[in-house]
Symmetry: C2
Subunit: 201 residues, 2 copies
């Protein structure tokens, strides 16, 4: 047993008013083999698991030619990386499939309707305990508008993507990997590029 | 606001000894748009997220010929589906990549060392809020032994896989999908077969 959280409480006496509360004490529950966070008020064990981020590289074809492809990007209204551009993406919710989550996030962040084409990439961001599943998708119309978490949204031809203002490495990876398989309908999904960090600071 | 958990407490008075404890009250936190589980003792908000299951179809080649392939299966020592056969698989841990998790689970459940070859499948089990990433992998040796969560482990040629005693639909799917791409090194990963349920009861 150990107790090394920043807000570690004195564990030798019952909790008193003013003590830190919630599942903040590290201990190994019965029948487990790892330390978990436990609340000494209510006994709750907070099993922490990695989270799943779902998102889409959503395209609109001007005139139908691949050269006319424009990609949906959202300028972030929230931390982290407020003001930078990202793909529509966010946390998968309970009882939701990864495809449904990508469709929902694209609606919430860009008020855009898409159909999922295929899995583009599975990224691991272990520092943040994130697994990201990013799909290739087709916009059902070019009608887009910023949702609550976006300052603005846009459909960008490749040459005018704001590369210097991209929010996260995974967004840059997904855009380039998407570009590398244009016209292919069957390919193994990409992962993290070798030797590149997913960290953005 | 609503409060429809089975153990819903009387919310009109402070908690008293004997009342149910822990984050069991449903309410929408400030700045959120969904109901979350909140503890009225300690104020903790329990954000529930889908979980990621990582696993492997791990092969050993007798004599090196594809026809000599044997696949690692584990007979479950734990609920659910105790006594049934499964692939080595389990919950991804914090700060772990999906590939590392599949390697760890194969070690924990079958004391077997593998190298990851490629992503075989991404399954969604929305009823259980699970996303499963299943890899094709190669056993580094045929030395295997049951871990704590396995009653026994075995290397099975295709014709002797105990199909009637497979624990979960996803295990059956992964085995058949693995079989369908033997010899291929580049393919789009599989998903849930259309119109098949991932439920096992």
């Amino acid at each position: 047993m150990s107790d090394d959280t920043p807000a570690a409480a004195d564990t030798s006496r019952p909790r008193q008013d003013g003590d830190p509360a919630g599942p903040i004490h590290r201990d190994i529950p019965d029948g487990d083999n790892r330390e978990r966070l436990i609340c000494r008020d209510c006994g709750f064990i907070h099993y922490q698991n990695p989270v799943i981020v779902v998102g889409a590289v959503a395209s609109w074809q001007d005139g139908g030619a691949p050269s006319g492809e424009r990609i949906l990007l959202c300028r972030r209204a929230i931390e982290p990386r407020t003001g930078f551009w990202t793909l529509p993406a966010g946390y998968l919710e309970l009882h939701e499939t990864t495809e449904a989550g990508a469709i929902r996030e694209t609606w919430e962040e860009a008020q855009a309707r898409i159909s999922i084409d295929r899995l583009l990439a599975v990224y691991n961001v272990p520092r943040l305990s994130q697994v990201q599943t990013i799909y290739q998708a087709t916009l059902l119309s070019p009608d887009i508008a910023p949702g609550e978490e976006s300052l603005e949204v846009g459909l960008f031809a490749w040459d005018v993507i704001p590369w210097e203002e991209i929010a996260f490495p995974t967004v840059r990876w997904a855009l380039h990997q998407h570009r590398s398989v244009i016209g292919q309908s069957e390919f193994a999904p990409f992962g993290n590029p070798i030797a590149e960090s997913a960290d953005y600071f």
